[in-house]
C-alpha cells in the first residue's frame, strides 16, 4: 500500500500554515498597524469604564473648557466633562454602532444575495433592480433621509446606515454565488444528491465568505465616518451621549480658542477609520486568491 501521494507528516503541514500566515503579515507592516489599532479600539470598547478616569457625564462647572493637563489629559468641554473619558466611552457609541451596522448589513446582504443568485429568474431581477435603485442614490444622502424619516436617534441612524450598506453586500454575495454555482464541486455535490439548501449552506456560503469578510472590514472605516457624520448633523446620537461625531459637532463652536475640544474626538475618528481600512486592505491582499493567498 505504498502508493500514497504525500508523505509529509501532519506536523509539517500545520507548521507550513502558520509560517505562511506570519510570512504574509510580516510582509505588510501597515496591516499590522491596522490590526493593532483595531485591537486597541476593541479593548477600549470593552474596558472603557476601567480606563476612564471620570464618568463620561460628570459635569464639573468649575473646570469648564480646561486645557489638557495631568488631571484632564484631553482637556474638558463646555460643562467641564472630561474629554478623555468621553472619547473612550465614545468608542462604544461610534465603533460599536459601526460594528452593529456592518454585521447587520453583511448578514442581511449576504442572505439576500445568495438567495437571489440561487433562485435566479424574475426574483433575481426584481431584487437586483431594487438594489440598483438604492445604489443610484448617494449613500450619505439616503442615510440622512432615512434617519430623518425614522426620527433622530442612535438606533435609527444605525438602521438607516445598515439599509444603505446592504446593496453592496447583495451584489457581492450574488456575484460569488453565480460563480460558485458552476464550480465542479457544487456540480459534484449535486450529482451526489445534495439539496439546494445544503449546497447553499456548505458549498456556496463558506466559499463566498472571504471576499464578504474583506468587504466588511473595509466598510468598517467608512461606516464609522458615516455614523459620525449623521451624529454630527444631529441625526444620530443625541446629547448627552458621548459619541465622536456629536462631540466634534458641539466642539466646533470652540475651535478657535479651545482646540482640544474638537481635535481629540476628531483624531479618534480619523485613527479608528484609518485602522480598519488598513486592516481591510491587508486582509484583502492575504485572502485574494488572485494574489495566490489561498
Amino acid at each position: 500500500m505504498a502508493v500514497d501521494g504525500i508523505g509529509a507528516p501532519r506536523q509539517a503541514v500545520s507548521r507550513f500554515r502558520e509560517g505562511r500566515l506570519w510570512y504574509r503579515v510580516k510582509g505588510s507592516p501597515l496591516t499590522l498597524v491596522g490590526a493593532a489599532i483595531a485591537l486597541v479600539v476593541l479593548f477600549v470598547i470593552i474596558a472603557a469604564p476601567l480606563l476612564a478616569p471620570y464618568p463620561p457625564d460628570k459635569i464639573s462647572l468649575s473646570a469648564r473648557l480646561a486645557a489638557p493637563s495631568l488631571q484632564h489629559v484631553f482637556g474638558t468641554d463646555e460643562v467641564g466633562r472630561d474629554l478623555f473619558s468621553r472619547v473612550l466611552f465614545g468608542a462604544r457609541a461610534s465603533c460599536g454602532i459601526a460594528f452593529a451596522i456592518v454585521i447587520l448589513s453583511t448578514v442581511i446582504g449576504s442572505i439576500i444575495g445568495c438567495l437571489s443568485g440561487v433562485v435566479g429568474g424574475i426574483v433575481d431581477t426584481a431584487i437586483m433592480r431594487l438594489m440598483d435603485v438604492f445604489l443610484a442614490l448617494p449613500a450619505l444622502i439616503l442615510a440622512m433621509a432615512l434617519s430623518a424619516a425614522l426620527g433622530p436617534s442612535l438606533f435609527n441612524a444605525m438602521l438607516a446606515v445598515a439599509v444603505v450598506r446592504v446593496p453592496a453586500y447583495v451584489r457581492l454575495a450574488r456575484g460569488q454565488t453565480l460563480s460558485l454555482r458552476n464550480r465542479t464541486y457544487v456540480k459534484a455535490s449535486r450529482s451526489f444528491g445534495a439539496s439546494p439548501a445544503y449546497l447553499l449552506r456548505w458549498h456556496i456560503l463558506p466559499n463566498a465568505l472571504s471576499p464578504i469578510i474583506v468587504q466588511a472590514t473595509l466598510d468598517l472605516g467608512g461606516t464609522i465616518l458615516t455614523a459620525a457624520a449623521l451624529s454630527f448633523i444631529g441625526l444620530g446620537a443625541q446629547p448627552p451621549t458621548s459619541e465622536w461625531g456629536s462631540m466634534v459637532s458641539s466642539g466646533r463652536n470652540y475651535f478657535l480658542d479651545q482646540w482640544w475640544y474638537i481635535t481629540f474626538p476628531g483624531l479618534a475618528i480619523l485613527i479608528s477609520a484609518m485602522g480598519f481600512n488598513l486592516l481591510g486592505d491587508g486582509l484583502r491582499d492575504m485572502l485574494d486568491p488572485r494574489l495566490g493567498g489561498r
Partner: protein, 331 residues
C-alpha cells in the same frame, strides 16, 4: 442482436437535445440511443464536443435548467423518466442509485471542508448510519482506493492532496453509497499517465467487486480499450458505432472509429506514422445535410448525402455508415 444479459439500468432511446443560445439552437444530440446493463462497463468515446458528457448529464438531469431542451426521444433511468422526477426524487436517485466522477479532481472537492466531512456527509445522506459508522465506512473506502493512512487523509483539506489522491477520494465518494451505476466523466484526463493506470484499475476492481455498472466517458481509445466491455463511438451528437470493445477494436466499422484508432500509437500497427483526423467537428448550429462525418471521411461518396441510420452490421454490432450497411446487406 445479442447483448450481455442483466437489468437495463439506463436506457436512452433516440435522444435529441438542443441548447438554445442567442445564435440559435445548437443541436448537441441527434437521435442518440444507448443502454447500460447492471454490472457492465460501457465506454463512450469521441472527441471533445461530440456530446459524450451531455448525454450522461441529461440522464441525471444535471444540465443547467433553461438552456438544454430535449426535442425528441426519451431516457429511462432505473425505470423512471428523470425529466419527470421531482427535485426530491432526483436527490434520492443521485448518489444512491447513480453517482458521477468528474473530470477535474482539483476542483471537485469543496476547498473549505475536510475530506472526511465531505465523504461522511454523502454516506449519511443516503444511508442510516451514525457518525461513527459512517466515518469507519469512509476510512474503509479510502483504504480500498489504496490510500495509506486514511485516518490522516480524512482530516486533511483538499489542497493538501495531489490530483491523483483527490481523484481517488472522489472515486471513494462515488462508490460510498453503493450505487448501481457510476458515470465516470473523463476521470483520468487531468492526471499524468502513471496515475491514470492506477485510477483505471481502481475503478475496474471496485466496480467488479461491488457489481456496479460504469459508464466511462473518454476521448482516449487506449483507455477505453483497457477498461470497457462495450463501447459507443459518438460523433457530432450521433452514435457512429456501437459494439463490444473487442469486436470494435478488431474490425472498426465506421471510418471515424478507424481514424480514432489510427491516432493511437501502437494500438493497431507498430512503427507506422500516426495519423490525424483532418478537419473539425461540423457546426452544430447549422449542421450540414447527410452524414455528419462526410467532410472528414476518405471514403465518402454519393450515398453519404443522406443520413445513414445506425444499423446492425453483425452480432452485437451497429454502425452508421452506408458502406458498411450495404456490405452487410449484400453479404
Amino acid at each position: 442482436m445479442s447483448e450481455p444479459s442483466g437489468d437495463v439500468l439506463l436506457e436512452i432511446s433516440d435522444l435529441s437535445l438542443v441548447f438554445r443560445t442567442s445564435r440559435g439552437p445548437i443541436k448537441a444530440l441527434n437521435g442518440v440511443s444507448l443502454n447500460v446493463r447492471a454490472g457492465e462497463i460501457v465506454g463512450i468515446v469521441g472527441e471533445s464536443g461530440c456530446g459524450k458528457s451531455v448525454t450522461m448529464m441529461a440522464a441525471t438531469r444535471l444540465l443547467p435548467k433553461g438552456s438544454a431542451h430535449i426535442t425528441a426521444g426519451g431516457i429511462r433511468l432505473f425505470g423512471n423518466d428523470p425529466m419527470k422526477l421531482s427535485e426530491r426524487e432526483l436527490q434520492h436517485v443521485r448518489g444512491k442509485l447513480v453517482s458521477t466522477i468528474f473530470q477535474e479532481p482539483m476542483n471537485a472537492l469543496n476547498p473549505t471542508r475536510r475530506i472526511g466531512e465531505q465523504i461522511v456527509e454523502i454516506i449519511r445522506r443516503h444511508q442510516r448510519l451514525d457518525a461513527k459508522a459512517a466515518t469507519s465506512k469512509a476510512i474503509g473506502l479510502l483504504r480500498d482506493m489504496l490510500i495509506s493512512e486514511p485516518e490522516r487523509i480524512m482530516q486533511a483539506y483538499p489542497f493538501e492532496l495531489s490530483g491523483g489522491m483527490r481523484q481517488r477520494v472522489l472515486i471513494a465518494m462515488a462508490f460510498s453509497c453503493e450505487p448501481k451505476l457510476i458515470i465516470a466523466d473523463e476521470p483520468t484526463t487531468a492526471l499524468d499517465v502513471t496515475v491514470q493506470a492506477l485510477i483505471l484499475s481502481l475503478i475496474k476492481h471496485k466496480a467488479a467487486s461491488t457489481g456496479t455498472a460504469v459508464v466511462f466517458i473518454s476521448h482516449d481509445m487506449a483507455v477505453v480499450s483497457q477498461l470497457c466491455d462495450r463501447l459507443y463511438v459518438l460523433y457530432a451528437g450521433r452514435v457512429a458505432e456501437a459494439g463490444t470493445t473487442a469486436s470494435v477494436l478488431a474490425a472498426p466499422a465506421h471510418p471515424y472509429t478507424r481514424a480514432l484508432i489510427r491516432c493511437l500509437p501502437g494500438l493497431v500497427a507498430p512503427k507506422q506514422p500516426l495519423e490525424q483526423i483532418l478537419g473539425t467537428l461540423p457546426d452544430l448550429l447549422d449542421p450540414p445535410a447527410g452524414c455528419l462525418f462526410k467532410a472528414r471521411c476518405r471514403e465518402a461518396d454519393e450515398r453519404c448525402k443522406a443520413v445513414p441510420p445506425l444499423a446492425a452490421i453483425g452480432a452485437a454490432r451497429r454502425a452508421a455508415c452506408w458502406r458498411r450497411i450495404e456490405e452487410t446487406q449484400s453479404a
